[in-house]
Symmetry: C2
């Protein structure tokens, strides 16, 4: 069956297409009687307003793209909830894509979203993303873009993130104040800015407290959304540094892997080794001991990033200039049992 | 800046619009030299093929809608990963919406997706969804629909789910075989089919093993994606039934709430009270004791539901009749420490 069109409805009722269109939009200048006839027939024929055609005219799809590097049970789920909450409020639809931490997939997804003519794009970069031409392409295309969490300082657009360096600095300073001296850092891979910044915060806290930085205490968890990586590196760290007294992990998931290993070999936390996470995920409360961690406001990050994006989309329509914002959301230490 | 159009490109190069269109689609009947000129200019002008216009012609948006009742850190994240994996493979985009377990939101979201002319809809029903006219509307609209997890037996479309009754029956039979006699069930609310079916499986297992069903042992966790609900009901159950020796929970999250409470009051699991979950979420492995649970294959459910939907969308194009499928994915018991 072909879909019913305005013309079909107009023809069957002997009225003009304009009248049908006005009636279906509930304009006041169509009589209630005619309106009812038109609406009834439209319902009978299963008429659906053609939103793609509407888009051609208004140039708005009321749809935005969200590219996340990974779908986890953790930080990105919270971001996602924040984005959806704001999208529901502002009546936007969200197409979600995940780059799987791959640059080539990220590039393809941007192309796909631009071809789809979404009104705007929200994204957190993959761990592989070291050049930004494909990101700049979004801006050249005049499509509003907001980066969040894993951002690129070199791209000129609005950004929402936390101060990763400061948060890491606070975490490590906390461990030092508790008397820990041999503090390992389980970092992420070398590319993403947040992995670099958390490492720099760790290093600076050591330096400011006259603890000599020892690169052999830094372990790389490439897959920092996998607790196995924390588990395996904890095994190595404990073997290589018998006097280790604390570990600052790049994510809660890595920290949970560490806790699992230390529990397995009956090392007491925090007495023998303190463990400090990053995220304040749901899991940090249910593990034993409960995880001391940095509260990273994922929901707020998602909500704020979406809110800025929708504002920029609205502003673009009015041809008013857009002033990019760089929002830094506050983090805090959540004290629990592990540190 | 106005977007570049095929006409602009044609005018600037003195070729026909058809030639431009063919060149950009890489048709063989345009000479490589002309093709290169056209592609170069299109790139220079930032030409984007107008996918909404393409949609008007092909009647395909290569976009589907996914409505989930809730975004959790658990089952729906897994479903979501499965849907995305299949969508990536088949080159579909996924608009995701959450109904927040509300019927009125679910209705609006269906309308929104139909107006958007998505090619198909995947959905898991809200806990409030007791009549199905809005769901049937999708079918009347000739939009392919696949229901998963929280399905409606009365709607005539493809469905992917597990056998909730059998899985619950297996879980409770397992507890009985381990010698438990006073087994509570922490069930979900009254509406969704999976909540009803898990309850029926619990009841049948008792009956088949000559244990008299006692309704005072059934507790309702309305918000079964919240561990607080499990925690609070565990408090009640332990106070009301001092001889309680096992609890079968509707979800892992509820089970985790129970474990938290039993840990708090130093009740040994499984020696004093055994706890059995449902989902096999990531958390079930990190809690102490580790949770014995039903493995509910969320990833496979999402992947299968998406795969069927894309098949139906393709079939619809060919005007071939669509045979609805009802897929029941197998579940299994994952034995761990809590039961």
């Amino acid at each position: 069956m072909k879909d019913a069109t305005l013309k079909q409805i107009a023809d069957q009722l002997g009225v003009s297409i304009t009248t049908v269109s006005k009636a279906l939009k509930d304009y006041p200048d169509v009589s209630p009687k005619t309106k009812k006839k038109i609406v009834d027939l439209a319902n009978k024929l299963n008429y659906t307003p053609n939103s793609f055609a509407v888009n051609l005219r208004t140039k708005q799809s009321k749809t935005v793209g969200l590219i996340v590097p990974t779908v986890d049970y953790n930080f990105f789920s919270k971001v996602f909830e924040g984005v959806l909450a704001e999208a529901e409020k502002r009546k936007y639809l969200v197409i979600i894509l995940r780059s799987n931490e791959k640059l080539d997939i990220e590039k393809k997804q941007i192309e796909l979203l631009l071809n789809k003519r979404v009104d705007g794009i929200l994204m957190s970069l993959s761990n592989e993303t070291g050049d930004f031409d494909h990101i700049k392409n979004i801006i050249t295309n005049k499509t509003p873009l907001v980066l969040f969490d894993k951002i690129a300082k070199l791209v000129n657009c609005s950004k929402v993130a936390i101060n990763d360096k400061k948060a890491a600095y606070d975490a490590v300073t906390y461990l030092i104040k508790k008397g820990h001296k041999k503090i390992a850092h389980f970092r992420g891979s070398f590319m993403p800015q947040n992995s670099i910044d958390r490492f720099l915060g760790y290093k600076k806290a050591l330096e400011d407290n006259n603890i000599i930085y020892d690169s052999s205490l830094v372990y790389i968890c490439d897959n920092n959304t996998d607790f196995e990586d924390g588990y395996e590196n904890a095994q190595k760290a404990v073997a290589e540094h018998p006097d280790l007294d604390a570990i600052f992990a790049i994510t809660d998931l890595v920290a949970i892997g560490i806790i699992k290993y230390l529990n397995d070999i009956k090392i007491k936390m925090p007495e023998q080794i303190a463990v400090f996470g990053f995220c304040n995920s749901f899991m940090s409360e249910i593990i034993t001991p409960k995880l001391t961690t940095i509260d990273q406001p994922g929901y707020e990050i998602g909500k704020k990033a979406a809110s800025i994006l929708f504002d920029e989309i609205e502003l673009k329509k009015t041809d008013n200039p857009i002033q990019f914002q760089s929002i830094e959301l506050a983090t805090s230490i959540i004290e629990r049992g592990s540190a």
